[in-house]
Amino acid sequence: MSAAKFSNPVVRWIDHRLPVFTMLDHTANEYPTPKNLNYMWNFGSLAGLSLVIMIVTGIVLAMSYTAHVDYAFESVERIMRDVNHGWLIRYIHMNTASFFFIVVYLHIFRGLYYGSYKAPRELLWILGVVIFLLMMATAFMGYVLPWGQMSFWGATVITNLFSAIPLVGESIVTFLWGGFSVDNPTLNRFFSLHYLMPFLIAGVVILHIVALHRFGSNNPIGIDTKGKQDTISFHPYYTIKDIVGVAMFLLLLSVAVFFFPNAMGHPDNYIPANPMQTPAHIVPEWYFLPFYAILRAVPDKLGGVLLMFGAIAILFILPWLDRSPVRSARFRPVFRIFFWLLFIDAIALGYLGGKPAEGIYVTLSRIATAWYFLHFLVILPMLSVFESTKPLPKSISEPVLATTVAAE
């Protein structure tokens, strides 16, 4: 790791004093990456790209946005109509928010499938859950800023949840609002925090990457790399693979931005906020719907709030709920079935969260909620004990070589 290996004298001079090039070289050329990563390993870099897009477009939007209840809605319309390419910046910001969640949900499910949360990557996983929480808070406050009907009523419903906390609930809500209802002080603090939190996320992402580089990526067969024959350098093999993912991502994002920019939004948010008129159905953004379904599945308000936060909190202790020493679902035939059931369950919760809380939907939400907790609290611990897993290959290279031999 000596500076001498750089041929350019300027690079050498700088690197001797500030070893940034050594760091880059280490990441790109020395950092060993399992050679069998599939496309599910693309979503981390895509999440990073999403974060960058959100920060850049967000800063530009903030230049023309006015955080005041009388002007917020109008300032957004000015961005859409009068600011040069303002419509483009806003639609990119809106749609990338949705894509960010799609990407991170896939990233999380990838981790669940391949057991990436298991030792020694528990803290890496936990930092991921922290990022997820920060993302949700950021997105929630961002949705309030245009001050449409859903902004206002979504903010009212969600902040009101805290009133369920015994004794101090009401005071907490007043504290969050900065008054006695969602109003100008609320909008101002939400703007301030919405600007701040992406940078906190960026900070946690750095920790996430540091933790990742400690033991390197997990891989589709979930066994540790045993030496040089199991790894390849990040550059050019995974830089090029990441670029393929980026191209795909940008293509789909462009389709959304240019042809269906409002498909993932709610029409009511084009109606200015009106505290005197409650919309027929208050629904949050689609990426909150699974949690919204859990919230409404419980007849008791406090119970609903606890279960909703519990649904995320449970991810923090996941590494200790699933004690099976085998990481990848490829070698866990029973776990794999339950993984897909959980996946369907999450989609079902998302669907139910968008439906009115009445009739059959309530019953189904309760079943789906129960299944979610059952999966983590009962099924995973039981599987750790009772499942008979398939034999693991000796190394990452072994099954690869075996198939090549068989093919010849």
Partner: protein, 238 residues
């Protein structure tokens, strides 16, 4: 298998969204939505200037008495194909308040292209007082503020009719097939032949409703054409 997961997720997410959209559109009652082929839908969509000009005329002569369109300025009429002189002339027919002058007085002057379209009422209270207590919403964003925007607007405007047997229509309310709950406080605005077109195209109720809808879609999404143009260039010719 994992790639399949990606696509299933995206597709289910989109279908869930689609379904929740329709769920919110149906607020009760029997709601009929008529689907029309708009020139602005689809990825090559574009506005029809002649239709928008006619629609603007319908807005001015029929709707503007009750509905404001506050995010539209006269200068935006250039998108409809009017030239600068025409826009100046249209603006000059309106009076807007300006000031204060050197003596501190507010005064009225003819509108200029940079001014916003004036509202029919000074405030919401006056609007309600003149409409049986109901508030006619601002129309600048209405085409995006309702599920299935343009199809819904068109269906609403041609959707008036007699209430079916047994449905009680209170005073000041009207029966409409597209409105959620079927009872709306807006009297039927378009009957056919309400305005005279200079280009000789049809002025039956369907034509007038389609034209004003076209105009309102532009008012809500004035950048639609450039957006789709850049979109085609980005997605198909990178």
């Amino acid at each position: 298998m994992m790639l399949k997961l990606i696509f299933t997720t995206i597709i289910s997410a989109i279908s869930v969204l689609g379904m929740s959209g329709t769920a919110t559109a149906a607020g009760g009652g029997d709601v009929t939505l008529l689907k029309k082929d708009w020139s602005f839908s689809g990825i090559f969509g574009h506005y029809d200037k002649a239709s928008m000009q006619r629609g603007f005329q319908v807005y001015l002569e029929v709707c503007a008495g009750c509905h404001s369109i506050e995010y539209m300025s006269f200068r935006n009429l250039a998108d409809l194909g009017y030239n600068e002189a025409e826009i100046k002339a249209i603006a000059a027919e309106y009076e807007v308040q300006d000031g204060p002058d050197e003596d501190g007085e507010m005064f009225m002057r003819p509108a200029r292209p940079a001014d916003r379209m004036p509202s029919p009422y000074r405030n919401d209270n006056e609007a309600r007082a003149n409409n049986n207590g109901a508030l006619p919403p601002d129309l600048s964003l209405i085409a995006k503020a309702r599920a299935h925007g343009p199809d819904y607007l068109y269906s609403l405007l041609v959707g008036y009719g007699d209430a079916p047997e047994g449905v009680d229509v209170p005073d000041g309310m009207y029966y409409n097939n597209a409105y959620s709950g079927n009872l709306i406080a807006m009297p039927q605005p378009i009957y056919g032949d309400d305005v005279e077109y200079s280009d000789g195209t049809s002025t039956n109720a369907e034509a007038l409703s389609a034209d004003v809808t076209h105009f309102l879609m532009w008012a809500a999404e004035p950048k639609l054409e450039v957006r789709k143009r850049i979109g085609v260039a980005t997605v198909f010719f990178p």
